[in-house]
């Protein structure tokens, strides 16, 4: 199956000196959900920003490699151009226009259609997935709960009718129950619209449970990749990302072992 999004040997440098990504490659096949996992500072968010062209806004640049969207090289294009072509980035921490109403946020997202589709007259499609947003359509979105804000962030992506959605930590700051709800909806959107997704997560458990394929990122390079189910069963992944192996807590002595094994993974 063709890849909707392909990243090849990507190098990213901040402020001309600080290398964050080293030769990162990944692919998101059409209609699939791909998870990108990793600990703090591994370069997950940077990867997404590199793909959607937001790096120059933070003094970063792609110093090597290429990003291909829909078969065409899109490395270094302006962010709004990429969004209009159908690459939608749901940024970390929702990043809504907090002083505007729910509906106005959806209206603003119509800019992403960029002439590919006519702007919708109403947002029934979004409200069908998120009935709660309809009740709050005229409220200032800064006052919504965290879960509702994440729903709105996803709603904006729906309005944009993208080919690929990039999610940056949709679980951030949400209660476990809400996280499960959000991921269920993400899956549902994937299945009903066929949009491909790249999901960056720290919550490896929920991400692996919902993704088709997964990459594990460490210090700016891909360390491990495979089918999500396979990775979830991998002993190292269990140790490092899923909170320990079977058999309950480990003794302090095993922490050393953990370090050794991690080196092995490298």
């Amino acid at each position: 199956m063709a890849n909707a999004l392909e990243v090849t040997a990507l190098d990213v440098v901040y402020q001309g000196t600080l290398q964050v990504l080293r030769g990162l490659s990944l692919a998101v096949p059409e209609g699939k959900i791909v998870a990108l996992l990793g600990s703090n500072g591994a370069g997950k968010t940077t990867t997404l920003k590199a793909i959607t062209g937001l790096l120059p806004l933070e003094n970063g640049e792609i110093s090597g490699g290429r990003v291909a969207f829909d078969g065409a090289d899109t490395t270094g294009l302006a962010p709004h151009t990429l969004t209009r072509r159908g690459l939608f980035h749901v940024r970390e921490g929702r990043q809504l226009f907090t002083d505007m109403t729910v509906e106005e946020n959806l209206v603003a997202a119509c800019n992403a259609l960029g002439g590919r589709h006519a702007a919708p007259r109403d947002f029934d499609e979004v409200y069908a997935f998120f009935p709660r947003l309809k009740e709050r359509a005229r409220q200032i979105c800064g006052y919504l709960s965290g879960g509702e804000q994440q729903m709105l962030a996803i709603g904006r992506a729906l309005v944009a009718r993208p080919r690929v959605i990039l999610f940056d930590e949709p679980s951030l700051g949400l209660a476990p129950k809400i996280v499960a709800e959000i991921f269920a909806i993400i899956r549902q959107i994937n299945q009903s619209t066929g949009v491909a997704m790249l999901v960056v997560e720290q919550n490896a458990r929920v991400a692996l449970a919902n993704a088709d394929y997964a990459y594990i990122l460490e210090s700016g390079s891909i360390m491990l990749e495979g089918n999500a189910a396979e990775l979830a069963g991998n002993q190292d992944v269990k140790n490092f990302y899923l909170g320990g192996a079977e058999g309950g807590r480990k003794s302090f002595r095993d922490v050393k072992h953990y370090r050794q094994a991690k080196r092995w993974l490298n």
């Binding site: 959607t52 062209g53 937001l54 806004l57 302006a78 962010p79 709004h80 969004t83 209009r84 939608f88 980035h89 940024r91 990043q95 809504l96 226009f97 907090t98 002083d99 505007m100 106005e104 946020n105 209206v107 603003a108 997202a109 119509c110 800019n111 992403a112 259609l113 960029g114 702007a119 200032i140 800064g142 006052y143 965290g146 804000q149 904006r156 944009a160």
Partner: protein
């Protein structure tokens, strides 16, 4: 009592003009976070363009007004493209200082082109006094109030109900997030400057038609600083309320305390407002979820 009502009405009506003058400042500040010290000079420039088209080229005032607004719009876009774009990413102070410099350049250029002498614009607004009951309001004050309110109301409606307006607000709210939903931020910020300059040019024509026109007309614009601080630098509704409050206060002070206190009173109110609400009566406090 009748005198009180009359002074109140005249004060509130003259506040309309303040509100219109403050509009351009608010548009730019809301849209790009920059306080544009050259806004007054844009008003002055607009008035001179109107004068040139109307009197020197001999065209009807309506055509001259249209030409003025279009010219001002282009000027705003041009300023954003050249001055502001070149300074993108620089500290805010540098950008604000650049607008101060721009103001001086425009003022000097206007002096060179049109001379320092006072010019008189044709009467755009009827001078015939308006009677409400037995209260008399000077025609110029009354009509400039009506026109100002109409322009500001049109802006309010535009920002609330049109996609273009919502897009501008989104870009003002956060540039990165605006990019991420597909908004062409550079174009929007150029348009914002254009819109502010157009509002300024229009206000300039109206102001010059009531007062007289010299290259120093722009200095009057800084007197609306009080309006901006009272109303909140980023609020269109605040501009109206702030303008009316300041206009009323000046009229009251002039009537009861004497003309020499007229210019001081607004700033006393500003101090009081700053103590209670540092972001102005209608200014936006950041919404933070904890």
């Amino acid at each position: 009592m009748n005198l009180f009502i009359e002074y109140s009405m005249v004060g509130i009506a003259s506040g309309g003009m303040y509100a219109l003058m403050a509009l351009g400042f608010v548009l730019v500040f809301k849209g790009t976070g920059v306080f544009n010290f050259a806004q007054g000079e844009l008003m002055m420039l607009g008035a001179y363009i109107f004068l040139s088209v109307n009197q020197l080229a001999g065209l009807h005032w309506s055509i001259a007004l249209l030409a003025t607004v279009l010219f001002a719009l282009l000027t705003g876009v041009l300023i954003e493209r050249t001055v502001l774009r070149a300074l993108a990413g620089q500290p805010l102070l540098s950008i604000v200082m650049a607008t101060v410099g721009l103001g001086l350049v425009l003022k000097g250029a206007a002096g060179l082109i049109w001379g320092q002498e006072q010019r008189t614009l044709p009467e755009l607004v009827p001078r015939k006094p308006i009677f409400i009951g037995d209260i008399l309001i000077p025609g110029a004050v009354f009509w400039s109030f009506v026109i100002s309110m109409a322009v500001i109301a049109a802006c309010l409606l535009y920002f609330r109900f049109t996609r273009g307006g919502v897009t501008m607000r989104a870009a003002a709210s956060s540039q990165v997030n605006a990019y991420a939903v597909g908004i062409n931020v550079p174009v929007i910020s150029a348009l914002t400057w254009g819109l502010a300059a157009a509002a300024g040019g229009f206000a300039g024509v109206l102001l010059a038609a009531i007062n007289n026109l010299t290259p120093h007309l722009g200095d009057l614009a800084l007197s609306v600083l009080a309006v901006l601080i009272v109303g909140g630098l980023d609020s269109l509704a605040g501009v109206i309320v702030g303008g009316l409050i300041i206009g009323w206060l000046q009229s009251m002070t002039g009537a009861y305390l004497g003309g020499q206190y007229r210019e001081i009173m607004p700033f006393i109110v500003v101090l009081a407002v700053l103590l209670v609400r540092p972001h102005g009566l209608f200014g936006r406090k950041e919404i933070e979820r904890i």
